[in-house]
């Protein structure tokens, strides 16, 4: 017979949610009932009555959270680069570094969609990425060309293209990794 799990927090209800937290890189699993899982994020939350842009963002995040019960994001989920945790981000409405966008992406992307009405940048492009994008496109074109030539068994010509692709790929690494 399968064992029935009891919520580790209220110790009353049946546990249906597994909550994973990360503290200083250490994984910690909690088994909770739905109710406790929903409220987990708000433990110790300060009472905010004043309306500001920041707590507006925080309430937006809350509303995104309640739409599904995937409670992987809790206060202790931490960005490894800058140390920002999700609870603090919610409180101050500011991210700590570029990596935070990856760390908290699951929560951020829906928030950005709501705030900005889009999640795809169409404006100006930074020089380093612009160069990379151009090279990526060129490599992809050359590959197509090379494959067509191989089918025709024109191997010598294909080898020239192969070398050119290699050269571009090593150049790409340089563009991507040469910044201080």
């Amino acid at each position: 017979m399968a064992k029935i799990n009891i919520c580790e927090k209220c110790k009353i209800n049946k546990a249906t949610v597994q909550l994973t937290t990360y503290d200083k890189g250490l994984k910690n699993d909690l088994i909770l009932c739905e109710n406790c899982a929903k409220n987990y994020d708000d433990i110790d939350e300060k009472d905010k009555t004043e309306f500001t842009k920041d707590n507006f963002m925080s309430s937006l995040l809350d509303s995104i959270q309640s739409s599904g019960l995937k409670v992987n994001y809790i206060k202790t989920t931490k960005c490894e680069k800058c140390g920002m945790n999700y609870g603090k981000f919610k409180e101050i409405g500011r991210l700590g570094c570029d990596e935070c966008y990856t760390t908290f992406s699951e929560k951020l992307i829906p928030l950005i969609q709501r705030l900005q009405g889009s999640t795809v940048h169409t404006g100006k492009v930074s020089r380093k990425v612009k160069g990379l994008l151009d090279i990526k496109r060129e490599i992809s074109d050359l590959r197509d060309e090379m494959n067509a030539i191989i089918k025709d068994e024109r191997f010598e010509e294909a080898a020239v293209l192969r070398d050119k692709i290699k050269e571009l790929e090593s150049g790409m690494k340089k563009v991507g990794g040469d910044h201080e």
Binding site: R94, L95, Y101, I112, H121, G123, V125, E180
Partner: protein
């Protein structure tokens, strides 16, 4: 009252639009954003960024000011001149600012983002300001490893700046729309197309003298030129509504308005104590008189400069000594103008 006639639409645009401002937010991926930096690391990054910008780009001709070493009043003046938001007054140790000689162009280091590039132009010249900002951006891009994501664009500390990092804004004087109670509708309409109307001195400030700041709310999913183009269109539309409101006023309340304008002139010419809000409100009333043809242009003052000149830090700074009676200083200053 004389039979007044409104000026042409172009002249009206020139009078009502005080200034245009473009600023972009940029960060480097080599360090956490300023908010996540310790004081020590923030100070080191400030020096590093300043040196790099001054030595490797054309910003070498700019004037650098370290916020940490600056008297508090000088920092306040920077805010009053709209070169930075009030956030620079906190955590000043890690912040610095580069300004052009005319202080129309500036690069702010370690405020909310590592780099904020800004250009202010008189009247409606958003494209001119954008060209200046974008050229500086291109230069800095060669020197810093920008935090940029292929999907999300330029990564910023606050998600409200994400993507283009662009905030385009115009400062407009709308006394007739305010007087006729139309501003609520303007607020709603602007909001619906992704534009926000903010206070006289930027986000979170009140409206003084019917001076409003209109700016884009959305920074992601639209090209810079689209954002700027929309703002220009919206501003033009709002100013044409302001002109229509002036016509309504002329048709309906000539004596009341004439009285309001001359009373304002009387106070500005004679008051001995005047606070910031009252001064800007009165200057606005006088200017409305000019729009309506009640008084001559020579009786008005240039709004762009006076909005800075009548502020506390600026008056204090020009006095050259600590003055407690700022309202007196302001009244003296205004009497000399009229």
């Amino acid at each position: 009252m004389n039979k007044s006639k409104l000026m042409s639409f172009d002249d009206f645009m020139t009078s009502a639009i005080i200034s245009s401002r473009i600023r972009i937010a940029r960060n480097t991926s080599v360090a956490p954003f300023p908010i996540a930096l310790t004081k020590k690391k923030g100070e080191a990054l400030k020096v590093q960024l300043k040196d790099r910008l001054m030595k490797k780009t054309e910003l070498g001709v700019f004037n650098y000011k370290d916020l940490a070493k600056m008297p508090f009043n000088d920092a306040k003046v920077i805010v009053e001149k709209n070169l930075a938001g009030a956030t620079i007054l906190q955590n000043r140790e890690i912040k610095g600012i580069l300004t052009s000689k005319d202080e129309k162009t500036s690069v702010l280091i370690n405020d909310e983002d590592h780099i904020r590039i800004q250009s202010i132009k008189s009247g409606m010249d958003l494209m001119g300001a954008w060209k200046i900002v974008s050229a500086i951006d291109d230069q800095i891009d060669t020197q810093l490893d920008y935090a940029f994501d292929e999907q999300l664009g330029y990564l910023t500390s606050c998600t409200t700046n994400l993507g283009t990092g662009l905030r385009a804004s115009v400062l407009v004087h709308l006394p007739a729309l305010t007087l006729t109670g139309y501003m609520d509708r303007i607020y709603q309409a602007a909001n619906q197309i992704g534009m926000a109307i903010r206070g006289t001195f930027g986000e979170g400030t009140d409206i003084y003298g019917s001076v409003y700041q209109i700016s884009n709310q959305v920074t992601l999913g639209r090209k810079e030129s689209e954002i700027i183009g929309t703002l220009m269109e919206v501003t033009k539309e709002i100013v044409s509504k302001e002109m229509a409101a002036c016509e309504t006023i002329l048709a309906n309340h000539p004596v009341n308005i004439e009285d309001k304008v001359y009373r304002a002139l009387g106070i500005l010419k004679n008051a001995r104590l005047i606070d910031l809000q009252e001064s800007i409100n009165l200057i606005s009333d006088v200017r409305l008189g000019y729009y309506l043809g009640i008084i001559d242009k020579t009786e008005t003052v240039d709004l762009e400069h006076i909005l800075i000149d009548v502020q506390e830090g600026n008056l204090q700074g020009k006095a050259g000594k600590l003055v407690t009676n700022i309202d007196g200083l302001r009244a003296d200053y205004l009497r000399k103008l009229w």
